[in-house]
Symmetry: C2
Subunit: 217 residues, 2 copies
């Protein structure tokens, strides 16, 4: 028995304790996935009794859903900001693919994959998932529309393209999670697929800022 002993926890204000618990849940989920979130694992991480964690949350489902939302919404905002600062839509597209397919985001991918699985048994989580998917979709749709308006993208269904992008990226990341062995190659073909969707000339994405990822072919 790994009996990590624990002194009595200091008394904190409800707000501080609440935030501490949420933060612990977030980092734990990024480390080991949403399914690793239990009253006891979270309590242990901040050196506190499971009962206390329980005391600060209506139930685990809510905590898990909130943690999911916190993690994903942060990512969405991050990427949205990144896209906003790109000079052209095409450059933004290249950055988008590079960023989202980066293996360093695997921790978030694990959260997504486990959320899909767990969401089937938790209404709270299912709702959170839909909410974040919509948020992602909004960002991507807006981005595609801008590209179309700028005359760089060509499609009559930015909405569908946005969903498609999202699905493709998620799928490739989820696969990469299991396909240890040939990392890096992930998404080498994605550029051409996206070019096809958005009517870009072939190679338009490979030549921009995708220097590193496109070397393999």
């Amino acid at each position: 028995m790994t009996r990590t002993l624990r002194r009595r926890a200091g008394r904190k204000s409800p707000e501080a304790r609440g935030e501490q618990i949420q933060a612990a849940a977030r980092s734990l989920a990024l480390d080991q996935g949403l399914s690793a979130l239990t009253l006891r694992s979270i309590a242990a991480r901040i050196d506190v009794t499971p009962a206390l964690v329980s005391h600060y949350q209506p139930n685990m489902d809510a905590l898990i859903a909130a943690t999911f939302t916190a993690i994903v919404s942060e990512e969405v905002e991050e990427v949205a900001a990144l896209l906003a600062e790109q000079p052209t839509p095409t450059a933004g597209l290249a950055v988008l693919l590079d960023t989202l397919l980066d293996a360093e985001r695997d921790d978030v991918t694990i959260v997504w994959v486990e959320a899909w699985a767990m969401g089937r048994r938790s209404d709270a989580l299912a709702g959170a998932i839909r909410g974040e998917m919509d948020a992602w979709h909004d960002v991507l749709r807006g981005f595609v529309e801008q590209g179309v308006a700028a005359g760089e993208f060509e499609t009559d269904a930015p909405d569908a393209v946005a969903w498609q992008l999202l699905g493709m990226i998620d799928g490739l990341n989820a696969q990469a999670l299991v396909r240890w062995g040939d990392p890096g190659e992930r998404g080498s073909m994605l550029g051409r697929a996206v070019e096809g969707m958005l009517g870009l000339r072939r190679g338009a994405l490979a030549s921009e800022s995708r220097a590193g990822a496109a070397s393999a072919t």
Copy 2:
């Protein structure tokens, strides 16, 4: 307590019982996902004691991995056969997309999604996943290569295209699982993406056998 009473089970040959258990596991997984596979749930489905199920399997991990393999390998063979009987590679491609994105395959998608999540905690399942992904990849790569040989597809990396296809399809299906509300539209843009990957003329896939799915746009 739903106390479904149970008469004493008839005595069967080890082979028959073993197959019955595997069949029960398969149908249960298709109904409720891999995570619903427990000694008790399987036992209940064939009106038998959990101990008996346990007796016929080294452990649950093995049973789950075997069930996953059974379900997915059947699907792979099914699709491979379907592809083989198509007149041209392009027609095959259209059929492939239609088939795999069909909402009726959601039961298999659930199995995949849960496998990705559970595979992180079960070596047996992780191995099975890799095996089936390779099987899928082999089928798709072979198909793409044929298309290239026939002069219909254009790519210098059939291997990467095959992985890409797999990832895109899985991702879109996984998303559709959560995005109740607008079914059917799934993959409306996938055709163009694939056209881009394989150097087909725009619309080549939409006009073939995709009559039903392409109507929305």
